[in-house]
Subunit: 338 residues, 2 copies
């Protein structure tokens, strides 16, 4: 077996992604050069931002080039090594692409030391970008005071569910907005978030009024669209909205009400976008905190795994239709000991 | 003459204001009670926010009650006094309403000490709320670094023109967006702002690209609407947008592109609304700074005066059609010495 399957971006989607935009191709498996390692990808993360990377305009990373291996955030295992810093069998996080195998200089990869009681996939989700995003958005951008009301959108999602739990643990009144009774039930029964809103079934404005009798002080926003307008209409003086994403707009189009945004002025409030990139200096500390919470059973999470590289389009489609349950990962090969 | 003319809000406008919403009525002139003074209004400020006050929903002030004297920001002169702190002849700023006369406790008014070389009207405009708004939005919200690019909308307006000049004085590359060749010419020739965009005639996006070759670091935003979308599409990492107002939305409707707002995430940027209310503790210091600049001829401003209380609807109409030239004031009586 010396082959490598990989997705390439064939055409830039204008709206929703479909079959013609991505192509699965088979190429030769690469050989590691001096100072490089050969990694077999075990997991590829499928975040909503992957859709943004496909646009012609640079996002927080340069635009994905056409005809090239689709960028991918991966967890893999070193299978051949020309650098003693990363011996064969080491688990590594990296930007390994949407493919089965890749080579990279050892310095571009991060060696993991997985805890035996924590699933390996957690190191490419809750204990990685999602966890740091939740932590940074809450503590560095929202900066809430205990007793304040925090509303989280995509609250059952990979980041939102962590924000809800970390917020509740610091004494906030947390209201989670998610799509569907199942997601709301999981938030209530497993994550301990009593106040939930099912945006697919509930009158969101009326539920917000009922669940936020003292108004909204902080928002952790993942979605945008009409729900954000409803939130803006209910913010308190000095409110802060941490803008993590606006998934509702990723496939194009979408507007926000200018009158709702005008509430930023009349409430001297702010919307602040942020990137986990700017918070990586806190990574080790935050990952250790979160792993301790996991081991104590105080932080619930869900990982939605699809088996096989070929499932990338389905994974993206599930994501944009809210059919995933937690962090969306592709599993390319079975886990095994390091 | 013991009468008092005053505007009352008869009906709440849904969209644009028209004749049926406001009514000019004649009532008895009030008498000052113990500890009160009787003030004759000389100037009433007509800010765009006056339209917001008329909405049923509270803005940064409680909603204007129906059937009551329309709220107004005034400069007047004490004509009768039951408080030795404010003798007859003192000029006072206050919330005197859209009317010719009012009474108030002395403590609710601010005594002025007008400089003989500064027009009295400046104390209800450039040296007051407009000046403090410009100063606070620039220094406390935008917080720019010398050399950065600052774009100002409604740049020939009462606040925007001050922001442009204060920004240029601190070494920013200032680009002013205003409506019409006259306003742009005034900014260039009188205020020394070389880079201007006439949003009514120019291709705003193309002009921004030409005038902001290094992107946009800071925005002082008064307008909202499509121009804000164009600005968001050009912001740099860590950009800050001080949101002073969104005049384009005050008459209802209006949207912002969700994709443009998503740039807040990918650029880790923020939109921050602010109210001059939160900066009044700097008032004395800032007013003194600005008065010194005025006296040195280093701060240009325009005041657009309409004579007579009856001109309020015209003043508002001019404002929302960009026909005013600088701060819009109504003059109710001739100035005279204090």
């Amino acid at each position: 077996m010396t082959q490598n399957n990989q997705w390439i971006l064939r055409e830039r989607p204008q709206g929703a992604l479909d079959a013609r935009h991505l192509e699965l191709r088979r190429v030769e498996r690469p050989l590691p050069a001096d100072g490089e390692v050969l990694v077999r990808n075990l997991y590829v993360l499928v975040p909503p931002a992957m859709r943004l990377w496909m646009n012609a305009q640079d996002s927080y990373v340069p635009a994905q080039p056409l005809g090239q291996t689709m960028m991918g955030i991966t967890l893999g295992i070193v299978e051949a090594s020309n650098d003693p810093a990363l011996p064969v069998g080491t688990h590594v996080n990296g930007m390994g692409g949407c493919q089965e195998w890749f080579t990279a200089p050892a310095a571009q990869l991060m060696a993991l030391a997985p805890h035996p009681e924590v699933p390996l996939a957690a190191y490419r989700s809750v204990l990685d970008v999602q966890g740091l995003t939740a932590w940074a958005g809450l503590h560095e951008v929202c900066r809430p005071q205990p007793g304040q009301t925090l509303v989280v959108t995509a609250a059952a999602g990979s980041v939102g569910s962590l924000v809800c739990q970390l917020g509740a643990q610091m004494g906030l009144h947390v209201v989670g907005i998610a799509g569907g009774a199942d997601k709301c039930r999981w938030l209530r029964d497993d994550c301990g978030i009593a106040a939930t809103i099912d945006y697919k079934a509930d009158d969101v404005g009326a539920r917000l009024d009922a669940l936020c009798p003292r108004g909204i002080d902080r928002v952790f926003e993942n979605v945008g669209g009409p729900v954000l307008d409803l939130l803006l209409e209910r913010i308190n003086d000095g409110a802060r909205i941490a803008l993590c994403g606006m998934v509702a707009s990723y496939n194009g189009g979408g507007t926000q009400s200018a009158q709702a945004l005008m509430r930023l002025v009349t409430k001297a409030a702010r919307i602040e976008g942020f990137l986990v990139r700017d918070h990586f200096h806190r990574y080790a500390e935050v990952a250790a905190q979160l792993q301790a919470l996991l081991l104590e059973g105080r932080l619930k999470y869900r990982i939605d795994i699809l088996d096989g590289l070929a499932q990338l389009p389905l994974a993206l489609d599930n994501l944009f239709h809210g059919r995933n349950q937690g962090v969306q990962l592709l599993r390319l090969a079975p886990e095994r000991g390091g």
